[in-house]
């Protein structure tokens, strides 16, 4: 199969300021990352990293045309403001440039507000799918850690409840090709 190989960098936005999370959105993150790459590697690095930033779909196929307002066109393939998880994409050979620049992201800016933060790289994967798998594992580990460190009973119940809630239940879905065989995999 001939295709452009990508690398997906899964990272976590770490910030002291809770209000930082409202900055966690596509544009702000991608701007910050671009800015960092530009600062560290100059125009060359920015160019290398930006190649894959222009649109695309998660399967990794190159998509030449950009469709503003539809798919996320920046490097950010997925982000979750509540957990602070960000998934970035770049070309395989530009991965080093991107990864080395990520520590230099120092703040996120949006709507004229600026919050200091740090990007913590969790995982680098070849497909979105592996990143998603890693994210499941990672979150699960965190939840378990939380459960262990729990001090009062109410919190414990809360965590257990949410743990139970995160399993996929068998939905009466009309689209027959979904397979829900993973109820056992979750704790």
């Amino acid at each position: 199969m001939v295709r452009f190989k990508n690398r997906y960098v899964l990272c976590e936005v770490v910030s002291e300021e809770p209000r930082c999370r409202q900055c966690i959105e596509d544009r702000a993150v991608s701007l910050a990352v671009r800015d960092a790459v530009g600062r560290v590697h100059g125009d060359y690095g920015l160019g290398c990293v930006s190649v894959s930033f222009t649109g695309g779909d998660p399967s990794g196929e190159p998509r030449l045309e950009t469709r503003p307002g539809r798919a996320s066109s920046g490097p950010v393939k997925y982000l979750n403001a509540y957990t602070g998880v960000v998934l970035l994409r770049c070309r395989k050979d530009a991965c080093g440039l991107l990864c080395s620049a990520l520590p230099f992201v120092r703040q996120l800016e949006s709507r004229n507000q600026r919050y200091p933060c740090v990007l913590n790289t969790l995982h680098i994967g070849g497909t979105i799918r592996t990143c998603q798998k890693f994210l499941i594992q990672y979150n699960r580990r965190q939840m378990l850690l939380l459960l262990q460190n729990c001090t009062n009973e109410e919190d414990r119940r809360c965590i257990q409840k949410s743990l139970l809630s995160c399993s996929l239940t068998e939905e009466p879905s009309k689209s027959g090709d979904e397979e829900d065989d993973d109820g056992t995999e979750t704790d």
Binding site: E12, V13, V14, S15, P18, R19, R21, Q22, E25, D26, D57, P58, S59, R67, G69, R70, S72, V76, Y78, L79, N80, A81, Y82, T83, G84, R111, V118, N120, L122, R129, Q132, K133, L135, I136, N139, R140, Q142, M143, L145, L146, T151, N152, D155, C158, I159, S162, L163, S165, C166, S167, L168, S173, G176, D177, E178, E179, D181, D182, E185, T186
Partner: protein, 1013 residues
């Protein structure tokens, strides 16, 4: 991007998690791709609670504080919104951001993420099948075929996939093997099924193997041969013989008393157009006539269509029979009109329509026979199924309808005999030789071949009557004489010869040979000369084909091909002549001469030939022997070319005033437009720039209306103040005497006309008009309101126009013509009444190009300016003027609309993303702009005549390079008003010169216009 691709992508993205942001304010990017990609509802509901959390710095184990900052469930109001999980709660985060995180929200956020990711991970992402996603080392042979080779956990999915694939596959036909399908009974059943909608001719299978077949008028007809044929068919028409199957033509038989018939029939045709049904030589049954039918008493409007008719020769009885043959496209109109004028409304019950029963039988058989039972029934109904194929109904008729109507008052019977009589047409000079070689007159027979069968019963009876025997002998003698005539055009036009012939399959040549005329028989004896001059006598036109019982007998008792071959195989000397003796069938036929080109001056008699009428069932039996005589077979296209070279209007293309013609024009427009739209926009001709208002259809109505308007508006046409009157006068003097006298005589009336000048007061002018003006004014007024335009078919007027079209100076041809035809000079007093009478008329004209050029369909016929004519006479190489390029005034409009549409679409999309993803862009807005196509005029056309630099006169309906003449030739219609205007203003030696311009070109070409009567 195409919709399909979008859909596919949407399906793929369905389970992918969407980005989740805090919705502080509804920003443009807040939703990301959530319209398609959000997780299914309900998975992250907990997040809507307005509780926040704070991350600590450690990645492995985040620290957190367990203080509640906000009470739970503050902002639950928007829970009910169905779609996205994350974006539910809108909060004013910026103001009240928590300082601390809580355990529960932290856990819930992660739980929700896990769930979303799980969903994304577990479903297969690609379009590939299950076994394709397996790693290579787990692949097994024939995995796609045998589900059990897959790992057990995937078998369920694979099973589902396999079922789906089966559904998508086409259903296999029930009769599987070819042998079963080709079994005779099944084959016939299949053929009958296939011709349920479009009837096949008897020669269908022969044609289908060699022709491009098209479905038209309820029939399956051969369009043109698949081999190279254009020039070959032309050669066959001019030098040899071209055969055509015209069995799809419809025949109506009228039976009744002669005067009853004639009285009513006179209402639907007019003596003005030439023949009527009363024409003496046609009425006797000697000749075939052709005429145009109009709705009763409505001449010259409400044209029904052209027909040919044959009277059965008088045979002593009171009732006369009349065959009216017409094209299937015009049949329904004519039939309805005939029923109306004869008041034949009730169907006749005596005549049980045969095809009906057979078709029903067939249908029943189809239903009853299940595959298992077929063989049992074969011997019973299978035999019946065989003749079913041959007895064919009629495509233009509902099979359950009766096809015979009787009038109570007069006893006139109209019966529809379509497909009962076959009709082949032989075109070309050698059609004589082909006919005489193929057909042999039947031998006399006095005893029955077999007492059991009815074979030749009628012939034996007939041979006992000496009068009839002598008639048969005379007929066959004349038929023999035909060999001595070199071309069918030498016979009087429309000659009818009845004949009874033997089975043509018996004397089939061993090889396909080309018939050549036998020069030995070209004796110039008295008999042949007598045949030239007197034609075929009346009684020889009699044929048994008029007798339906005999036809039925002949059809039913045909020896099948199989039997014939069997008998051939049993001959003692293989390949010797098969003599069937008394059991040879006798077939009554009718031969009708087709006159070919009669109008005009050049190529007289071109394209003449013979039509042969056969009883049904005998189609292939006559077809193959003809083919073996080396004729070439043509289809519809060749018929079109034939009529084009003959310069006769072709049904239904060239009858714009009848219903079928209008229908045809509409269909043609639709197909041309579709073809136009199929091209990429950059490669299309911009007809607005070319100044072509309607490239796909001829707006006859508007053309005539505009010319009428011009005539009324412009005073100069009515009183020509330009030097024309004196030049006319001088010319009148220069030409021979009587004409000038006419001019002088009618001059006072001219003055009168000039003073009144309005159409309403044109009665006087009408009265001055000679015999042609028979209609009263009230009817004429109706004409103007009822129909848009008429086609001028009055022979007298056409003759006059034709004479006017020739140049008067130069070769001086016109004086001769005038003296021959006794025509009048082209002056106002002659043509004004004509204009008054036919304010909106079209004239059928023929155009031949002077120099270069190849006219195309819908080319425009325009009036040359004086400059053009001047340059033409000066410059030998001058091909014609150029139309200046027009500006496309619609271009900007179209572009603006396009942009607006795009913008709107975009906006709609944005809206869809922002607010409700289920909303679609309104369909109405997109439909609005459909009719504006770049390069075509939108509906309302401006004045068609004055749109271009040269005044428009008419349109070409058919045009091509003519092989017969060797230059470009076109046929078309021009407005009568425009034509007279042009002829009146043209100098004497340049009369009849027009300009032709193809719709997709700016170049005008000179052509000579003439009217052939």
């Amino acid at each position: 991007m195409s919709g399909a691709r979008e859909k596919k992508r949407a399906k793929k993205m369905r389970n992918q998690p969407a980005s989740v942001t805090l919705l502080a304010e509804p920003g443009p990017f807040s939703g990301g791709g959530s319209s398609r990609a959000c997780p299914s509802p309900g998975d992250v509901r907990s997040e809507q609670q307005n509780l926040q959390q704070k991350f600590s710095n450690q990645s492995s184990g985040p620290s957190y504080r367990k203080d509640h900052y906000f009470p739970k469930g503050q902002n639950r109001g928007e829970r009910g919104r169905g779609r996205g999980g994350w974006q539910g709660g809108r909060q004013s985060v910026s103001e009240e951001m928590p300082k601390y995180i809580t355990v529960s929200t932290f856990a819930q956020a992660r739980a929700a993420e896990i769930k979303a990711m799980l969903k994304a991970v577990t479903q297969k992402s690609s379009n590939s099948l299950v076994f394709q996603t397996l790693p290579r080392h787990m692949r097994r042979r024939a995995m796609s075929h045998n589900i059990k080779r897959l790992p057990r956990r995937l078998q369920e999915i694979a099973k589902k996939e396999a079922e789906k694939a089966v559904h998508q596959k086409k259903e296999q036909s029930k009769t599987k093997c070819r042998k079963a399908r080709r079994r005779h009974i099944n084959l016939v059943a299949e053929f009958n099924r296939r011709q349920r909608k479009n009837i096949w001719l008897e020669t269908h299978i022969w044609h289908a193997k060699r022709f491009h077949m098209i479905k038209k008028w309820g029939y399956c007809l051969g369009d043109s041969p698949t081999e190279k044929c254009y020039r070959a068919c032309y050669r066959a028409m001019t030098k040899h013989c071209l055969l055509q199957d015209l069995s799809y033509y419809c025949c109506l038989e009228l039976t009744g008393k002669e005067n009853e018939l004639l009285k009513q029939l006179a209402r639907i045709c007019s003596i003005d157009t030439g023949l009527t049904f009363e024409e003496a030589c046609c009425l006797s049954g000697r000749f075939e006539g052709s005429l145009n039918l109009y709705r009763a008493d409505r001449y010259p409007e409400d044209m029904l269509g052209p027909v040919t008719f044959i009277w059965k020769p008088r045979d002593g009885s009171e009732n006369r029979h009349l065959w009216i043959w017409m094209h299937p496209a015009v049949k329904q109109d004519i039939l309805r009109e005939l029923q109306a004028i004869f008041q034949c409304s009730e169907p006749e019950e005596i005549y049980i329509p045969e095809p009906v029963t057979s078709i029903q039988e067939e249908k029943q058989m189809d239903v009853v026979l299940s595959p298992g039972k077929k063989r049992k029934k074969e011997d019973k109904e299978g035999e019946k199924a065989v003749p079913v194929k041959k007895i064919i109904g009629d495509g233009t008729r509902d099979p359950c309808q009766s096809y015979s109507w009787v009038s109570q008052a007069t006893g006139i019977v109209i019966s529809d005999r379509t497909m009962e009589i076959l009709r082949y047409r032989l075109i070309g000079p050698l059609s004589h030789s082909v006919l005489t070689e193929t057909l042999k007159a039947a031998s006399l027979q006095t005893e029955k071949a077999d007492s059991e069968t009815e074979l030749n019963n009628w012939w034996v009876e007939n041979c006992k009557d000496s009068a009839k025997v002598s008639l048969h002998e005379r007929q066959s003698a004349i038929f023999e004489l035909l060999q001595g005539i070199s071309s069918p055009s030498e016979m009087p036009p429309g000659t009818i010869l009845g004949l009874t012939v033997g089975d043509p399959r018996v004397n089939l040549p061993k090889k396909k040979t080309k018939t050549m005329p036998d020069f030995k028989k070209f004796q110039d004896n008295d008999k042949v000369r007598h045949l030239y001059l007197a034609g075929v006598p009346v009684d020889c036109a009699h044929s048994f084909i008029w007798n339906q019982d005999i036809c039925k007998n002949v059809t039913e008792n045909k020896i099948s091909e199989q039997e014939l071959n069997h008998m051939r195989a049993q001959l003692l000397v293989p390949g010797s002549h098969l003599d069937l003796g008394p059991s040879e069938s006798k077939i009554p036929i009718l031969l009708v001469q087709q006159p070919g080109k009669v109008a005009g001056e050049d190529l007289p008699g071109w394209g003449s030939g013979w039509d042969i009428y056969l009883p049904k069932g005998w189609g292939m039996a006559f077809w193959i022997p003809f083919i073996y005589r080396g004729v070439r077979v043509g289809g519809l296209q060749e018929a079109l070319k034939h009529s084009e070279y003959q310069r006769t209007p072709h049904t239904p293309n060239d009858f714009p005033d009848c219903q079928a013609g209008m229908q045809f024009a509409k269909e043609l427009e639709a197909s041309l437009l579709e073809k136009f739209k199929r091209r990429p926009p950059a490669k299309r001709a911009n007809y607005v720039k070319l100044g072509t208002l309607s490239p796909f259809i001829c707006p006859w109505g508007q053309l005539t209306k505009n010319w009428e308007g011009r005539m009324i508006a412009s005073g100069e046409f009515v009183h020509p103040t330009s030097p024309h009157p004196d030049h006319c006068a001088t010319e009148g003097q220069s030409s021979c005497g009587p004409e000038t006298e006419v001019v002088k005589e009618s001059s006072p009336e001219t003055g009168e006309v000039e003073t009144t000048m309005e159409i309403t007061s044109s009665e006087d002018a009408l009265k001055t008009e000679d015999a042609t003006g028979t209609q009263d004014i009230s009817e004429r007024d109706q004409t103007m309101t009822a129909s848009d335009f008429i086609v001028l078919r009055s022979q007298k007027v056409l003759m006059q126009l034709s004479a006017w079209c020739y140049p008067t100076a130069g070769k001086d041809r016109r004086i001769r013509l005038i003296s021959r035809l006794g025509q009048k000079e082209l002056t106002e007093d002659v043509f004004l009444p004509m204009l008054m009478r036919y304010p909106r008329a079209l004239v059928w004209v023929h155009l031949s190009l002077l120099r270069k050029g190849n006219p195309e369909l819908h080319a425009m016929i325009c009036i040359p300016t004086k400059d053009d004519l001047l340059r033409l006479s000066k410059d030998k190489l001058f091909c014609g003027p150029q139309e200046p390029r027009h500006r496309d005034i619609f271009k900007q409009k179209v572009q603006k609309l396009k942009e607006e549409k795009k913008k709107k679409k975009k906006k709609d999309n944005m809206k869809a993303i922002e607010s409700d993803p289920t909303s679609f862009p309104d369909k109405e807005t997109t439909e609005e702009y459909e009719d504006l196509i770049l390069g075509l005029w939108p509906d309302a056309l401006p004045d068609v005549t004055s749109h271009c630099s040269r005044t428009l006169l008419g349109y070409v309906t058919r045009g091509d390079f003519s092989l017969a003449v060797g230059c470009g030739e076109a046929l078309g219609f021009v407005s009568l008003t425009g034509l007279l205007y042009m002829l009146h203003n043209q100098p004497a030696d340049k009369k009849g010169l027009v300009l032709l311009r193809s719709p997709a070109s700016l170049q005008y070409r000179f052509a000579r216009l003439n009217i052939e009567v």
